[in-house]
Subunit: 225 residues, 2 copies
Amino acid sequence: MATQIEILKDIFESSVQKAAEIRALLREKKIYMIDVMSSPGSGKTTATDRLIGMLKGSYRIAVIEGDIKTTKDAEKLAKHDIPIIQIETALYNSDCHLESTWIKRCLEKFDLDKLNLVIIENIGNLICPAEFELGDDERFVMLSVAEGEDKPAKYPPMFRSAKTCILNKIDLLPYLDYDMNEVMENIRRVNPDMQVFKVSAKTGEGFDELVAYMRKNIDAKIRQP
Amino acid sequence: MATQIEILKDIFESSVQKAAEIRALLREKKIYMIDVMSSPGSGKTTATDRLIGMLKGSYRIAVIEGDIKTTKDAEKLAKHDIPIIQIETALYNSDCHLESTWIKRCLEKFDLDKLNLVIIENIGNLICPAEFELGDDERFVMLSVAEGEDKPAKYPPMFRSAKTCILNKIDLLPYLDYDMNEVMENIRRVNPDMQVFKVSAKTGEGFDELVAYMRKNIDAKIRQP
């Protein structure tokens, strides 16, 4: 039993160690990295598509796409003509999250001297990705209003692990019985300092505020002397 | 290393063994058990609520609710005055799926001689629950149309592990750019025999067909001599 515990500890430490290495690398290269997490189908790819369109004039962006299977998301973003790597976790036993070791390998494939923003689209899963450090500067948790108001209360580890919440699909609000006060209260209860942006990746509503906030955070890192 | 592999194998075998015990128990007691799986917020609880309302005149029903945190779902179903057990996996290190050992313990708490239908609402997760046998008779995978058409292609293990797909929230179709042919094609590609029901748990549309199908399956087991 002692042996087993040591092995598991080694694996975990190696993952944390790799995340620390990523952080050092991104600091050296002055690259900001964002990890976007959510349930399946809450709109990560559509939002990432819009963000790239709004940010690519100012930043040199690369994307790491995580999926169990298919390269659909990477294909959707191909029109931007930026470096994209798709990780298909089905190749690694259908893993339910991304790990720092894979992110490190992706970063080694990019020409980091030509980048200052990396966006990771994590596997669609509101649970497991919260536990794995990737060495990013910021984590976004996206939540579609079609998923209901109770998710922050039901998935507290995820909503505590991120500092920013993107409440997506607000274009659907007229057709849902959605209580905005309730979701905000549920967010505040598990993460009082969480920054919340209400957006529609479909129509673009709310993206000016989100992009202004992102620019401030990105610039603070990449423009430092 | 050999030791570690043996231990992991034991744990896995114990889980499969427990599922086999559950199957034998449910056969003896003539109880049908359904495991409902989906992403967070696709409508499992609202659908379960409606199904209980339509089925409780004919069957004696109990529910096992799985969540990381909160008893919200169990509370929503409390009005039906049926036995409900809530499993909060945060007590077990925020686990992302239900396990047969916990289901067995829940079944031991029910008066099985007074039941003929058990509905399990699994943790909201389109990945991990697919891998864990619970000893059920049937698995439903629920998918909200708000999640997009690509989910069966992106999460094949889940869509292969279930024999029935409940396509929920069709009341939102007029407000989404949703291609019904595309989702059906994606389902057929990973699971050609999958039975698909298009429903709205909110309005009740499509539930007559779903309930007729469920009655046939349940009766085939519980009415046998």
